[in-house]
């Protein structure tokens, strides 16, 4: 059997067989890692094109193989990937530091999410977890001010026309500096938490020293919830990094953290992705989840919106153009119901057109009708181009 690069598993949050072998080689101990690496090499040539998710695993693979298989002849190539990741991470942090100083100087609390916090604090290694951008979160109440400050300092929103709608319905916005370095400004960690999180998340945040600055990072439980739920949705770049990230966070967690996970899962109504993620890690990586926590999550009830959205999130194309009009509309209605905080079908239906207008960049209702009719037609023609791949 020979795996093909970018096969049907491409983009899916759960690894295909080749990705799973690579992850095992990068994460497991001793013989298990070596066997996985050998199996991967038998099935795949490192010189063939790698999907982006596998590529981002190489620094971690280097660190693990240099420990368990130091005579591996491909180690220098893998070390090159590590060096590049280390270098890029340093640059991403360096380019983002003035923005952090600006926000802190204006009295705005900032919290680092994803790689900027995971690398130094959870992995204890600046190169093993590649970063494409700096993810910074502020309180929802500070989002407008933070955005204005960053814009004044030369950071440009990637979608200038969508700022107003994003602040209302979104959770984050991508910005670029003059040289193209990226910073994601978040005001919510998860779009599932738009109506649920706030001060509580900040109260439990931990401090992190970054040169002359003190910033915040999520507590263990929030970091786990974030990497899992954020990672468990279809993405053009296979988001399989949620697996090493989650395992790394879980290694640091104690009993109290698991209780907090339960609390967060209940508040955000994210038991479906969390149960599936934890089950996957247990099955494939032997991750230990306290039995009573698993039971507590299993016993939580789920609503229509959670079920519909979870099902849709795992569909290839859920974040891109619809393969068909109604499944897309169904997905968006699920997203809206999660975000609206309204109960009942009628109030949600009443607010849905405004949300659709957000997703279609503020078009009028007539334009909206034409827009969706056009997209339905293009969807039928299997057109897959869409400029908005990763913002639910």
């Amino acid at each position: 059997m020979h795996f093909q690069a970018k096969d049907q598993g491409y983009g899916h949050p759960f690894p295909d067989p080749a990705q799973l072998l690579l992850l095992k080689a990068a994460l497991c101990e001793g013989e298990e890692a070596i066997l996985a690496w050998q199996a991967w090499q038998q099935a795949f040539d490192l010189k063939d094109p790698l999907d982006a998710g596998s590529y981002r695993t190489l620094p971690l693979l280097y660190r693990n193989l240099s420990r368990v298989l130091p005579q591996e002849p491909l180690l220098p190539k893998l070390k090159a990937a590590y060096r590049q990741s280390w270098y890029r991470n340093q640059q991403v942090l360096h380019r983002g530091l003035p923005a952090l100083r600006l926000l802190r100087g204006a009295g705005i609390e900032v919290m680092l999410l994803k790689g900027a916090a995971l690398g130094p604090l959870w992995y204890g290694d600046a190169g093993v977890r590649p970063m494409a951008d700096l993810d910074v979160m502020v309180c929802p109440a500070d989002a407008c001010r933070a955005l204005d400050l960053l814009k004044e300092a030369g950071w440009t929103p990637e979608e200038p026309g969508a700022v107003e709608y994003n602040l209302r319905y979104g959770r984050a916005m991508g910005l670029r500096d003059a040289e193209g370095w990226e910073l994601d400004l978040h005001w919510h960690a998860l779009f599932e938490g738009l109506r649920h999180e706030g001060v509580d998340l900040w109260r439990n945040a931990a401090p992190m020293e970054l040169q002359d600055l003190t910033v915040k990072v999520p507590e263990h439980a929030m970091m786990l919830v974030h990497v899992m739920v954020h990672g468990l949705r279809w993405n053009p770049e296979p988001p399989i990094r949620w697996i090493p990230d989650s395992l790394q966070v879980m290694r640091a967690m104690g009993a109290g953290d698991w209780e907090r996970v339960t609390e967060l899962v209940r508040a955000y109504r994210i038991q479906l992705p969390m149960l599936q993620a934890l089950g996957y890690l247990k099955q494939h990586f032997g991750a230990e989840v306290p039995e009573h926590i698993h039971l507590a999550l299993s016993n939580m009830s789920t609503g229509y919106a959670e079920r519909a959205l979870w099902k849709a999130q795992l569909r290839p194309g859920a974040e891109r153009l619809p393969e068909a009009f109604f499944p897309r509309l169904h997905y968006l209605f699920g997203v809206y119901m999660r975000q609206s905080g309204r109960s009942g079908l009628l109030p949600n239906l009443a607010g849905f057109p405004a949300f659709l207008a957000y997703r279609t960049r503020g078009k009028s209702r007539l334009q909206l009708l034409a827009y969706y009719a056009g997209r339905a037609w293009r969807g039928r023609r299997k057109d897959t181009a869409h400029p908005h791949p990763n913002t639910p």
Binding site: S66, P76, K77, A80, R83, Y87, Q91, A126
Partner: protein, 151 residues
């Protein structure tokens, strides 16, 4: 001559790490990337931990004998390059930093390098875009370095 000076790493501009016997550094002021191994790593460790560089050289010369001829000049050139690239700067403080590397640690570090210490070489990689866009699997040699582009 630089061997007798007290030096320190040029924080926060110079960020460094040592991975499996290789020290990697980025100068964030200009984006240049640097690398060295073996004797260079020992020199860097002594500087980074506030140790006595002169003692390191003495130990290496003593244990190297004839193999260490010219090592003083090589170390001096290496340190001069670190200064020129602003990876280290003169440390103007009157005494070594608290917790500085003890002489015994410096001697032990020298001993680990053995009797034939290689002259340290500072590899510099000055094209940031190339570094970021490099395909580490296909564009590197068997040692994992884009050798043709290294200065």
């Amino acid at each position: 001559m630089f061997i007798q000076e007290r030096l320190r790493v040029n924080h926060p501009h110079a960020v460094h790490d040592t991975i499996d016997g290789e020290t990697i550094i980025v100068n964030l002021k200009n984006g240049h990337y640097y690398s060295f191994d073996k004797t260079g790593v020992a020199v860097w460790e002594v500087i980074a931990r506030g140790g006595d560089l002169g003692l390191l050289l003495s130990c290496l010369q003593e244990q190297g004998g004839d193999n260490a001829v010219g090592l003083g000049d090589a170390l001096s050139d290496f340190v001069a390059a670190l200064l020129r690239e602003e990876l280290v700067i003169a440390d103007a403080s009157p005494s070594p930093p608290e917790g500085a590397m003890a002489d015994a640690e410096v001697s032990a570090l020298a001993a680990r390098l053995g009797g034939t210490p290689e002259p340290p070489v500072l590899h510099r990689y000055a094209d940031m875009q190339d570094m970021l866009l490099l395909d580490p699997i296909h564009d590197t040699d068997e040692r994992g370095w884009p050798r043709a582009r290294i200065e």
